[in-house]
């Protein structure tokens, strides 16, 4: 369960309003896709949910705390001079996995992200697309129940993006990973075509506010895109 209540945050002494009273809750198995133009406050919202930024007003709560969160930001958070596997083992250790479990988890996520043959390669030698996959592996190594994804499709080619969509769909449904029930996913992107098929709920964010927040229902990507254009134009 993920809960945001009256989140408000500004930068530059109040001149830039990044979050302006955002509230929502998300049950396990739900995927919220947040669409918005650059500067709408999507990254700030994800950082608040991840505990990276303390909001000036309101609160955010994730069941299970920090251990439950998997975070994919703009950067990979991987150390270039360690191999992909060493990175995963390091992060697994920080999340409290014992040696046997983190080795097993590392092998599992490497296989699921088709990175097994790159496991012993230093991260600095990976291409942009492989680096993004390694970053996703890092976010999944501790088997999080809440995944926060900030522009996760950036740098991926069409096949890799499709593979990631399939993986996220599988993760949301609780398929594999040993996590049992479904995961909660929050996905922020400025591109409506990316990730809309994954979404069970859709939010349009503009100037720190949700100008639209509703279940996606049976709406197609084109319908969501049209609603997005209307909502952000009216706001």
């Amino acid at each position: 369960m993920l809960l945001a209540d009256g989140l408000r945050h500004t930068f530059g002494g109040g001149r830039v309003v990044a979050l302006d009273g955002i509230s929502f809750s998300l049950a396990p198995g739900r995927t919220l896709a947040i669409f918005g133009p650059n500067g709408a406050g999507k990254t700030t919202l994800l950082k608040v949910l991840a505990g990276l930024i303390r909001p000036q007003a309101g609160s955010a709560r994730v069941d299970g705390g920090r251990r439950a969160i998997g975070w994919i930001g703009h950067q990979s958070h991987l150390y270039g001079h360690l191999t992909v596997r060493e990175n995963l083992l390091f992060w697994g250790s920080l999340y409290g996995l014992d040696a046997a479990r983190r080795s097993a988890r590392a092998a599992d996520v490497l296989a699921r992200l088709d990175l097994s043959d790159r496991a012993d390669q230093p991260v600095w030698s990976l291409s942009r697309g492989l680096l993004q996959r390694a970053a996703i592996a890092k976010a999944l190594v501790h088997d999080p129940t809440v995944l926060l994804l900030d522009e996760p499709f950036t740098g991926l080619d069409l096949a890799a993006a499709e593979q990631l969509r399939a993986l996220l769909g599988e993760l949301r449904g609780g398929g594999g990973g040993g996590g049992g029930g479904g995961r909660t996913l929050v996905l922020a992107t400025h591109n409506v075509d990316e990730g809309v098929e994954l979404a069970t709920d859709v939010a349009f964010q503009r100037r720190g506010r949700f100008v639209h927040f509703a279940p996606r229902g049976t709406r197609s990507a084109a319908e969501v895109a049209a609603a997005y254009r209307r909502a952000t134009a009216d706001a």
Binding site: G51, G65, W71, H77, Y79, L94, Y95, G96
Partner: protein
């Protein structure tokens, strides 16, 4: 507490592994130490000031500036691919993170000092045989204090422009007390004076360590949290 120490060791081990792989900072610091001691060796007039009077100052100035190189790299590592952000999202406590960085920095500086001390003895022909153990003890005591403060400040300046310069400017005033004490104790040891003459300075070093390790552990989270 065990979990705190386990996390700190995980962070320190990762830092040391990264340094072992790249070796850039450690090689720079060791070469810097050798160069400074060489310059002082050939740049001084041995008939003007005795080695026992000048040596301790040279030793500690060298160690201090070599340590700056280590402290600068401590959080530079975390800027690559914004790894620091990943650390802050993870359940690792800020105290563990600080202690991990402190441990890695201490190991790094200890390596530099273990190369610097024999070079100092070689260049300046200082008799340290009888006082080696107490000398190593004083070096350890003083190093812990200034690395504790330096680790805190390196986190503080890492997101600023000119971080390397700013670290030196901020840190040096805080290093004056342990440096004075370390130089005074070292001078007495090398001069063959009894350690009891330096008890006051040793107490100062111990107090500095206790105060600044505790204070830095408490304040560290304010330097990394947004």
């Amino acid at each position: 507490m065990l979990e705190l120490l386990r996390q700190a060791w995980t962070v320190a081990r990762k830092d040391l592994l990264l340094e072992f792989r790249t070796r850039t900072a450690i090689v720079s610091a060791v070469v810097f130490t050798a160069l400074v001691l060489t310059v002082f060796n050939f740049g001084r007039d041995p008939t003007a000031v005795s080695v026992i009077d000048l040596g301790p100052t040279i030793l500690w100035v060298t160690f201090t500036f070599a340590a700056m190189l280590a402290l600068n790299r401590a959080f530079q590592l975390e800027l690559e691919n914004q790894a620091l952000e990943g650390l802050l999202v993870s359940p690792v406590s800020r105290t563990s993170l600080y202690w991990g960085k402190l441990l890695a920095n201490l190991a790094f500086v200890a390596v530099v000092e273990s190369v610097g001390l024999p070079l100092f003895v070689l260049f300046f022909n200082v008799p340290v045989g009888r006082v080696l153990l107490p000398l190593v003890g004083v070096i350890a005591l003083a190093t812990l204090g200034f690395v504790a403060v330096g680790t805190l400040f390196s986190a503080l300046v890492i997101r600023t422009r000119f971080a390397e310069l700013l670290l030196v400017v901020l840190l040096l005033p805080f290093l004056v007390p342990p440096l004075i004490a370390a130089v005074q104790v070292t001078a007495r040891l090398l001069g063959g004076r009894p350690l009891s003459e330096a008890v006051g300075y040793l107490k100062l070093l111990a107090a500095y360590d206790i105060v600044f390790v505790s204070l830095a552990s408490l304040l560290f989270r304010f330097t990394v949290d947004e």
